[in-house]
């Protein structure tokens, strides 16, 4: 055994050493590597006895070998003895271990016995405790039952006492306690109502609760009760399972009464304002105060404070009562909300109606600030209301009313502007009709003054209207900043509805004067003034007014608007037509004079002309007057050939002679010459004369138009008559006279000449005995006349 151990040890040690060496190798610790690999190291792992021995023999001397041998022998012996000791010790230890195991075996056996004993004891204990609990069970059940009965009895007592208690509660007005008790008991009572006794109680309770309900309802309907009371009532009634829908209705109808009173007040105010209601006698002072019509601001205030606050209150409490609490029924919620919205909408509609009616009554006053302020207040108040009730947009409706009011104002102003314009027209007419007593010194600028006055009056009136309307856009007015109010108001309202409409009205009114229907009613001077007015409008006023409007109302060019050019064209058109009409009217009046003078005279049997006929003088006078009139308003205009004859123009008398000589030669042809040839040749070189043609905006052009019309009439009338010798000569004198005085009015002197020549030619044709007068005699007569 020991040898065995030794081998084992050696082995283990060898293997240990080997392992150790390998580890060292592995970790690369080669310090001692040389030693260990040395096969001559007796303690090394690679020890080789033969090599060692041969080395020893080779290296050592014999003595040394002898020493070595002895040393090795001693070492071997020491090792042997160590090994023996170890074996012995191990053996002892083994013996003692065997002893210990044997002793343990004995101890266990004793313990097993004791355990058996314990088990039997436990069995006995179990048996006993079972017996005890069996004996106690009956009693315990009994006790449980008894305590149950006790509780039941307590509840029953509560039930029996309930009617009395409820009565007491009602007496004490502790409604909420009563409701609480009742709701507790209600289910049981309901469940056991088939039993006679419970039925009695149930009935009693129901009766009392009914009473309670009635009480609550009464309180609910009481006008004096506060909102909080109402809320409590509703709360309790809801708990008593009153149908919520009905409650909503009742609540609303109750609220309605109050609000209706407010509305009636408003209605009354409106009727007062419109003067429908006459004060009844015997009113108290307060009533009398109420009976005086409020101004619109007061009205809106009353509306806000009375109606709107009340309806807000109603909405708020309604929200609290029916909407804001968690409802078991979703449908119920929706229905309640629907009811409220319906209710509020209906009332608001009424209210809006009243406000609108009231605002509309505000037509007469000129000042806007109060109206605007009241509208502003109204608008603000509505916005506040919007937050209270979702899904409804009263501010939109409110803005509509505001917009409508603004529109009404604009329309109203337009009417007043139109009225003002027609007043202006009447003024001008009266001024024209009135005899000018002030003397002649201002007659030069008389029409001009009228024109300026009219224009200034119109423009001032428009400006003041614009100023008034600006109140709608004050910076402290809330609705003024709303784009859906501001845009339409500024563009469609003020610009299009007021300014453009008015300007169009002016144009169309002016055009009406050109209609033949009421001919003669418009004095020619009025036509002239209006024409000039339109020209001024076209030149500056229209663009000035529109720019002013756009600036004052800060318009942006987002909307399509009537362009300035269109308006100017309208005005220009009107001016042109008026002036044409003026020319026509004046030409006609002179034509009539000439026509009468030609038609009524017996041209065959006249005496030799001694004078220019009076009618010709009259014609010249009239034309001079018209010239003066037109000259006040219109520029001179362009004449043809101005430069060549300018020296003569200043001295008409010196011109007379030479002109007569020049023209006279032409007229003095022998009657035997073919007249038509002459005039035809003449016509070839002159342009065709448009008689009723459009005129330019200048004095000369206007006068030319009038003279053209007159002379053409003269010509046509002459052609319808037959003349004797002296008739022809009279015409010669007359035309020469016209020639002398008309040239200065016309743009092209030639034109007058051509027409007058044609008159004389035609007269020659229509003459039985064409003998022309001597030009010198004509001159003489004309100078005299």
């Amino acid at each position: 055994m020991s040898s065995q151990q030794e081998v084992d040890d050696g082995e283990t040690e060898g293997s240990k050493r080997k392992r150790h060496g390998m580890l060292k190798m592995y970790y690369g610790i080669e310090k001692s590597g040389g030693a260990t690999l040395d096969p001559c190291d007796i303690n090394g792992a690679h020890f080789e006895a033969d090599t060692y021995l041969s080395n020893l023999i080779k290296q050592r001397s014999l003595t040394e070998l002898m020493d070595e041998e002895t040393k090795m022998v001693t070492q071997i012996r020491a090792l042997d003895s160590d090994m023996q000791t170890l074996v012995y010790e191990n053996y002892n230890k083994f013996i003692s271990a065997t002893d210990t195991i044997r002793k343990m075996k004995n101890d266990f056996k004793k313990m097993e016995d004791e355990m058996d004993h314990l088990a039997s004891n436990m069995a006995t204990i179990t048996e006993f405790s079972g017996t005890i609990s069996n004996t106690l069970q009956d009693r315990r059940q009994h006790i449980t039952k008894l305590s149950g009965v006790h509780a039941l009895l307590k509840k029953l007592q509560f039930l029996f006492e309930l009617p009395a208690r409820l009565n007491k509660c009602i007496e004490m007005k502790a409604y909420s306690a009563a409701v609480r008790y009742y709701t507790k008991a209600k289910r049981i009572l309901h469940q056991y109502q088939h039993m006679a006794s419970f039925q009695g109680i149930n009935e009693d309770c129901n009766k009392i609760i009914h009473q309670l309900c009635d009480h609550l309802r009464e309180q609910f309907k009481d006008k004096e009760s506060s909102a909080k009371d109402l809320a409590q009532c509703v709360d309790l009634l809801l708990q008593l399972n009153e149908p919520a829908e009905k409650l909503c209705e009742e609540f609303l109808s109750h609220a309605r009464q109050k609000i209706d009173e407010d509305l009636q007040l408003l209605d009354r105010q409106i009727r007062l304002q419109s003067g429908e209601e006459i004060k009844s006698e015997g009113e108290t002072a307060a009533q009398a105060y109420l009976a005086t019509p409020m101004d619109v601001l007061e009205f809106v205030d009353t509306g806000c404070n009375g109606f709107l606050s009340n309806i807000c209150l109603v909405i708020a409490s309604y929200n609290d009562m029916f909407l804001s609490k968690p409802q078991e029924d979703e449908n119920m919620d929706a229905i309640a909300l629907k009811k409220l919205v319906f209710f509020v909408n209906e009332l608001m509609e009424k209210y809006f109606d009243y406000v609108q009616r009231r605002v509309r009554l505000e037509r007469e006053t000129g000042d806007n600030t109060i109206l605007v302020r009241s509208l502003d207040r109204f608008h603000r108040r509505l916005q506040a209301m919007n937050k209270l009730l979702p899904d409804t947009d009263f501010s939109r409706a409110g803005t509509d009313i505001v917009s409508k009011a603004a529109k009404d104002r604009v329309y109203h102003y337009l009417q007043s502007l139109k009225q003002h314009f027609s007043d202006c027209m009447t003024d001008v007419r009266q001024n024209l009709a009135a005899p000018r007593t002030v003397g002649k010194h201002d007659s030069n600028s008389y029409l001009n003054d009228l024109l300026n006055n009219t224009q200034t009056a119109v423009v001032d009136q428009i400006k003041s209207v614009l100023n008034n309307l600006q109140a709608f856009l004050d910076s402290d007015i809330t609705f003024a900043m709303k784009p859906y109010f501001r845009g339409p108001f500024c563009v469609q309202g003020v610009r299009e509805g007021l300014i453009v409409a008015f300007l169009n009205h002016v144009s169309s009114t002016c055009l009406e004067f050109c209609e033949d229907k009421d001919k003669g009613s418009a004095p020619p001077a009025l036509l002239l003034i209006l024409s000039k007015l339109c020209i001024e409008f076209e030149a500056s006023t229209i663009s000035y007014l529109l720019t002013l409007t756009e600036e004052q109302f800060m318009m942006t060019e987002r909307f399509p608007v009537t362009s300035v050019t269109d308006l100017c064209n309208n005005a220009k058109d009107a001016a042109q037509k008026l002036l044409n009409h003026f020319v026509k009217v004046q030409g006609l009046s002179i034509s009539q004079m000439l026509r009468k003078s030609v038609e009524t005279r017996d041209w065959l049997n006249t005496i030799e002309p001694r004078n220019v006929r009076a009618v010709m003088k009259r014609v010249i006078e009239d034309i001079t007057a018209i010239d003066a009139q037109v000259g006040q308003l219109y520029e001179e205009g362009v004449r043809k050939e101005r430069s060549s004859d300018s020296s003569r123009r200043t001295h008409p008398h010196s011109y007379m002679g030479s002109a007569a000589l020049r023209k006279g030669g032409q007229w003095n042809y022998a009657p035997s010459i073919d007249n038509s040839l002459m005039s035809n040749i003449q016509k070839l070189f002159s342009e065709k004369i448009e008689i009723f043609s459009a005129v330019e905006f200048s004095k000369v052009s206007v006068l030319t138009g009038i003279i053209k019309i007159s002379l053409k009439t003269f010509l046509e009338c002459v052609r319808l008559r037959t003349f004797g010798r002296y008739g022809l000569q009279q015409i010669q004198v007359d035309t020469h006279y016209l020639q002398l005085y008309l040239w200065r009015f016309v743009s092209d002197e030639n034109l007058v000449q051509v027409l007058l020549d044609e008159i004389v030619c035609s007269t020659v044709h229509r003459c039985l005995d064409p003998a022309m007068m001597e030009p010198s005699v004509i001159d003489l007569i004309c100078e005299r006349g």
């Binding site: 033949d516 001919k519 006609l588 065959l604 049997n605 038509s676 005039s679 035809n680 016509k683 065709k688 448009e690 008689i691 009723f692 043609s693 053409k712 046509e716 052609r719 037959t722 004797g724 044709h765 229509r766 003459c767 039985l768």
Partner: protein, 383 residues
């Protein structure tokens, strides 16, 4: 040669009187009367050769005086009336007489002035009681031999016996208005069995029933100034057109005398004459002292406001018919053409009695212009 170009004929004298030879429906013939105080007046019988675009003329002398009005007879194509101015040293008188053309149209008549034959007098229309004759009307259809004359402020009715060359006055009536208002023109209504006439004096138009010689309707202030001429729509019995010194041509429904149906303001001076085309009543001619003649199309007031409806009866199938209908755009009212050939006032214009597309206009300087309706317009009406 361009068919559209006007044909111009010059008279040596001034002239105001023009009429189509109403009784002649085969050839395009016009009669023109001259106005001259000092030379013997003439009646020019104008024949227009449409194919060759040539004017042939016969000149007859009018022995009495200058001619202010001429009207061809509807009974006999050789008959006509003239209103002429008989002058003496101290007075002038407007007379009327019925004349007969001495021969049928002779295209080979010599141009020798002295050889002009004179028209033969049938009879005078005695107006000595009534004043100056303004114009004479023949019965529109020629069924009876009645003529109507307008003398100052009287309407006088004669019955003519051509065989015995006498005219018997059968009725007369006066205008019982205050003032010195004279008739300016008159027109015989071709509808209602020719029992009505319309007259104009001053600014008013009056209708008369010639059976009773009573006034039946009045259009007060039809024009702003003197009414110069009027004409009846040949196809629509209540429609008339008038013109006047306010430079306007107005259309009236005589059942509504307060308001005109339409107004044309195209002339720049007095409108002296206005005529409906006898066949296509949308064509309106007007002449004015602005020396223009204007041809208007007023389809909206014509008897064929939607084009020629007669075509529809002939159409074979409905589809065709629809197509035709659709292709025809409703014609617009408006000026068809303005004729500027004249250089003096145009006092008279008339449609040819034979060819619905030809008309003549006469200006004071003696220029007669024969024009045609533009071909485009003609096709628009016909097709």
């Amino acid at each position: 040669m361009d068919d559209e170009s006007p044909v111009i004929y010059g008279l040596e004298f001034q002239a105001k009187a023009l009429t189509a030879q109403t009784g002649e429906t085969d050839k395009i013939r016009f009669l023109v009367g001259t106005q001259s105080l000092r030379v013997e007046n003439q009646i020019h019988h104008i024949d227009f050769d449409d194919e060759n675009n040539i004017i042939n003329k016969n000149i007859y002398l009018h022995p009495e005086g200058e001619i202010w009005n001429i009207k061809a007879s509807t009974i006999d194509k050789d008959l006509m009336t003239t209103c002429y101015n008989k002058t003496s040293e101290s007075k002038t008188e407007m007379k009327a007489a019925i004349w007969r053309l001495p021969s049928d149209f002779d295209s080979g008549q010599a141009d020798d002035q002295s050889a002009h034959p004179a028209v033969r007098l049938v009879c005078h229309l005695n107006n000595s009681e009534y004043g100056d004759m303004k114009s004479v009307l023949w019965h529109p259809t020629g069924d009876t031999s009645a003529v109507i004359g307008f003398a100052d402020n009287h309407i006088v009715l004669w019955d003519i016996d051509t065989s015995s060359s006498t005219a018997k006055m059968t009725a007369s009536t006066g205008l019982d208005s205050k003032g010195n208002s004279k008739f300016t023109c008159g027109q015989w209504n071709p509808h209602h069995n020719c029992t009505q006439i319309a007259t104009a004096n001053d600014t008013h138009i009056r209708g008369w029933d010639i059976r009773t010689m009573q006034q039946v309707y009045t259009i007060e202030n039809a024009h702003g100034q003197l009414v110069r001429d009027l004409d009846f729509n040949p196809n629509k019995q209540y429609y008339i057109v008038s013109c006047g010194d306010d430079c306007k041509v107005k259309f009236w429904d005589i059942r509504n005398p307060t308001e005109s149906l339409a107004v044309l303001s195209q002339h720049s001076h007095w409108v002296w004459s206005v005529k409906y085309n006898h066949f296509h009543d949308q064509l309106i001619l007007s002449s004015s002292s602005d020396s223009r003649v204007i041809l208007n199309s007023v389809v909206s007031l014509s008897s064929e406001p939607y084009g020629n409806l007669a075509d529809n009866n002939d159409s074979d199938s409905d589809d065709d018919h629809d197509e035709i209908e659709r292709s025809k755009e409703p014609q617009q009212d408006g000026i068809i053409s303005t004729y500027e050939e004249h250089e003096d006032s145009v006092y008279a214009v008339d449609w040819s009695a034979a060819d619905p597309w030809v008309f003549a206009s006469l200006s004071y300087d003696g220029r007669l212009v024969i024009n045609r309706v533009p071909r485009a317009e003609k096709y628009k009406i016909l097709l």
